[in-house]
Symmetry: C2
Subunit: 423 residues, 2 copies
C-alpha cells in the first residue's frame, strides 16, 4: 500500500531535482549533528537568502526585499492581476532541524515554478499570478517576537518596533538586516490568498499513517513574559531566612507551570518555559532578577484561561514563600482560529487525486500562515515528522513525504492560479 | 559607649585620609545604584589597578605584577628579610558593593604605609618587611574558579589552567590580563605571614554590637558544577509526555537544593544555586541542556555530607520523573579550617588596646585568607556589614567601623613586622 502510494506521487526527475536543491540548501549553516543553525539575519541566513535569490532569478522570478526583510520572488504571467503567495521561512532555531520552514519555502518555490512553466508552455494566462516568500524571522530565537516578517506584513506588529528590536548582544533588526544586505525597500504585491506546507512537528500523522494533513485549526497559545525580582546578596554568608532568591522563585514557577498539565489532564494542555536568564548569574550571588518566557497552549481558550487562573494562585504562594515578586510584564495570545473550509477541501481533493493518505490536523505551533489567515484566504498543510521531533538536529521527514507534499502544493497552486481562493 | 569607643579608635587626620582615598577608589567602576562593578581584568579593574599602583609608587613601594595578575607593593626596610603580606582584592561581583575586597586592600595599604613610615622615622629596622597585595580575581564571576590569584600562589590551581580559563565571551585570563597591562613577570617575595581585614558580609556582628571580629574558622563549602541533559524539541507541539526538559529538571533541582536547609534545620546549612544557563534558551524550544553551580555550606563537613546524600536521592527521583540526566561534572571543597590561635590572640589584644568591642566569628564566605591559611600563618578579621548585605550595591559599612578596622590592622602589622607570625 505504501509502495503504491509512493509510486503514484513520485515524479522521479522532478522529485530528484527538488531533493538535490534541498540538499544544497541544507548545507548552508549545517551543524555537525546533522541539523542547521541559521538564526534570523545571521551570516548563515544571509548566505541562504543569497542562494535562494539566485535560484529565483535563474528561473525568471523578480526578486524583492521589503523593509522588514521579507524576501519575495514574483512571476507575473497575468499583467496587473493579484498574486497567490506561497512560502514559509528560511531562518532556524539554534541547533535546529533541516526541515522546519526551509522545506516549505523550497517546496513552494518548486511548485510555483512548475505551475508557471506549465502555464507558459500552454500559453495560458491565469487569473492570478504566483509569488514565493521567505518570511523574515519566523523563529524568534534571536529577535523577539517570532513570526516577525508576517506580523509586520499583516499589521499585528508595527514596522518601527520590529526594526528597533535588539538581540541579546544589542544588535537591532535594522542593523542585522543591513549587515546581510536584506534591509529592502521593495513592496509586496496585492495578495489574494496564501498557501504554506510545513512539517507537522508532532507525532500524530506518523502514528496514524497520514501523508497529507490539512490544518483545520490553530491551537491557541497564551504567552507571558515574566520578571521575577529578588534581592542580590552573597550566597555563602546570607542566612537562608534573609534571602530573596529570584532564581529559587523562578524555579518554583517553572515547576508550577509544568504541573498545570497534570491538573487538567495529560495531552489537553501544553505548557513550557524555554527561555530563562538570571542576573547577575554568578555562582556566589543570590540572583536579583530572573526573566523568563512561559506559554500555555491548548485547542480551547477556556482551558488556557482556567490553567492561568490556577497558575495565578500558585504565583501568589511562591511570592510569599520566597519573598520575591513575580510580574507578568507582557502577554500575547494567538486565538484558536479555523482555516477556511475552501482551502482544506482543495488540499483534500488534490491529495485524493494523488491517492495520498490524508487527514485533518490542528497546528499546535504558530506559523506565518497563522498570521496570514487573519487577512486573506489561507491554507496550510503538513507532511509527517519522524517521531514528532522538531527544533532539534534530529528532526526528520522522509524523502517520499517531502515529494508528496511538493506534489500536493503543485496541484494546489495550479488550481489557485486558475480559480483564485475565496472563503 | 559607642561614642567613647569611636573617640578612642578615631584618628581624625589619618582616618580622614583613608576615607578620602576610599571615596576616590569607590568612584572607579561606580554604578548608578551606589555600588561598583569591576569584574576581574575588565577595563574598570585595570583603572583601579592603575590608580592603586600610582598610590603605592607615590609612597615608595616597589610595585610588581606576577604571571597571574597578582599586584603587589613591597616596602623593604630590612634587606633580605621575609615579608608579612597584607591585602585582599580590588575586583568585584557585577553590581556589587564598594566594600567587599577593596576595603581590605586599601586598609592594608594605609596600615602598612603608616607602620613603615613610623619605623623609618624611628630608624628601627624590623625583623620582617611589609607588602600589600591585590589578589587577582577573588570573585570568580567573570572567570572561574574564584580566589584565582591566591589559588595559583598557594598551589591549589595550576598557573596554566588559570591563564587558559575563558569568560562567557571566549576571552581568556591571559588575554584579558594582557589587555589591561597586568600580565606580569614579577615574583612574590618570601612570605612569612598573611593578614587580611574584610567586611563581615553577614548580620552577626552588627546584631551583637561587635566592631572587630577575629575569624577563628572557615565554614566548609562543597561546590558542584552540574550539567542537566535533556532533549531539544518544540515547546508548542511536543506532547508533554514525550519531553525531556532540561530546564524543568534543573528547576526541580534548584528547589531540592533549597529544601535541604529545611530538612537539617534553619541556619545550620546554607545552600544555593546562583548561576544557571539554559541551552538553546529560546522561548519555543524545550531546553536540551542546563549548566548550573550549586553549593552546600555549613560549619560541619559531616552535615554537608549528609545534606549531599539526601540530595543524591532527590536527584535520582528528578532524573526519573523528567527523563533527563543530572551529572555532577566537577566538585570542589573548602575544608572547614581553624585559623591559628596566635593570630586571633594578636587581633584581640590590639582591639582591646583600642577598647573596641570584639568577638570571634566564622567566615561563611571564602576569602584569599582561606587559601593563604593553608601555607603560612594567617589572620583574618572582620568589621560589621549593615544588615549583613553583600554582593549587592546596598552593601554598607560605617566610616567609624572602617577606621576601627584600619586602626587594628595598623597595630597588628606593627607587631608582625617586629615579632613575626608563628603558629
Amino acid at each position: 500500500m505504501a509502495d503504491e502510494r509512493t509510486a503514484q506521487s513520485w515524479d522521479p526527475g522532478w522529485g530528484a531535482d527538488f531533493l538535490a536543491d534541498f540538499a544544497v540548501l541544507s548545507a548552508i549553516g549545517a551543524t555537525p549533528g546533522g541539523g542547521v543553525e541559521r538564526q534570523a539575519a545571521t551570516a548563515e541566513d544571509g548566505q541562504m537568502r543569497d542562494w535562494f535569490s539566485r535560484w529565483l532569478r535563474d528561473r525568471g522570478f523578480e526578486v524583492r526585499t521589503d523593509p522588514v526583510g521579507n524576501l519575495i520572488g514574483l512571476c507575473e504571467l497575468a499583467a496587473g492581476a493579484p498574486y497567490i503567495l506561497v512560502g514559509s521561512h528560511l531562518d532556524s532555531q539554534p541547533l535546529a532541524g533541516r526541515f522546519d520552514g526551509a522545506y516549505g519555502v523550497l517546496a513552494g518555490a518548486h511548485a510555483a515554478y512548475r505551475v508557471t512553466e506549465a502555464l507558459r508552455a500552454a500559453g495560458t494566462e491565469p487569473r492570478f499570478n504566483l509569488a514565493v516568500i521567505d518570511w523574515f524571522n519566523e523563529e524568534g530565537s534571536r529577535f523577539k517576537p517570532s513570526m516577525m516578517g508576517s506580523g509586520v506584513h499583516t499589521g499585528v506588529l508595527p514596522l518601527a518596533a520590529a526594526l528597533a528590536t535588539r538581540d541579546p548582544r544589542g544588535i537591532s533588526v535594522r542593523e542585522a538586516l543591513a549587515d546581510i544586505g536584506y534591509l529592502g525597500t521593495g513592496t509586496l504585491p496585492e495578495v489574494a490568498g496564501y498557501a504554506e506546507v510545513h512539517i507537522e512537528q508532532g507525532p500524530g500523522m506518523e502514528a496514524s499513517g497520514t501523508t497529507i494533513g490539512a490544518v483545520d485549526r490553530t491551537w491557541c497559545a497564551n504567552k507571558y513574559e515574566v520578571v521575577v525580582t529578588g534581592e542580590q546578596s552573597h550566597t555563602g554568608s546570607t542566612p537562608m531566612a534573609m534571602r530573596r532568591d529570584a532564581l529559587l522563585s523562578a524555579a518554583r514557577l517553572v515547576v508550577a507551570v509544568n504541573e498545570l498539565t497534570a491538573s487538567v489532564g495529560d495531552g489537553e494542555l501544553h505548557t513550557s518555559v524555554g527561555e530563562l536568564t538570571v542576573e547577575p548569574n554568578s555562582p556566589v550571588v543570590v540572583a536579583r532578577e530572573v526573566r523568563l518566557l512561559m506559554d500555555i497552549r491548548s485547542s480551547d481558550s477556556g482551558l488556557n484561561a482556567r490553567a492561568f487562573a490556577l497558575l495565578e494562585q500558585r504565583i501568589a504562594d511562591i511570592e510569599a514563600a520566597t519573598r520575591t515578586s513575580i510580574d507578568i510584564v507582557s502577554r500575547s495570545v494567538w486565538a484558536s482560529g479555523p482555516f477556511p473550509a475552501s482551502g482544506i477541501k482543495l488540499v483534500e481533493e488534490v491529495a485524493d487525486e494523488l491517492a495520498l493518505p490524508r487527514g485533518r490536523v490542528a497546528t499546535l505551533a504558530g506559523h506565518d500562515a497563522t498570521n496570514m489567515n487573519a487577512v486573506v484566504p489561507t491554507l496550510l498543510f503538513f507532511v509527517p515528522s519522524a517521531g514528532g521531533i522538531s527544533h532539534a538536529e534530529r528532526e526528520f521527514t522522509r524523502d517520499e513525504d517531502l515529494v508528496a507534499g511538493l506534489s500536493v502544493m503543485t496541484g494546489v497552486l495550479g488550481r489557485l492560479a486558475r480559480d483564485g481562493f475565496s472563503y
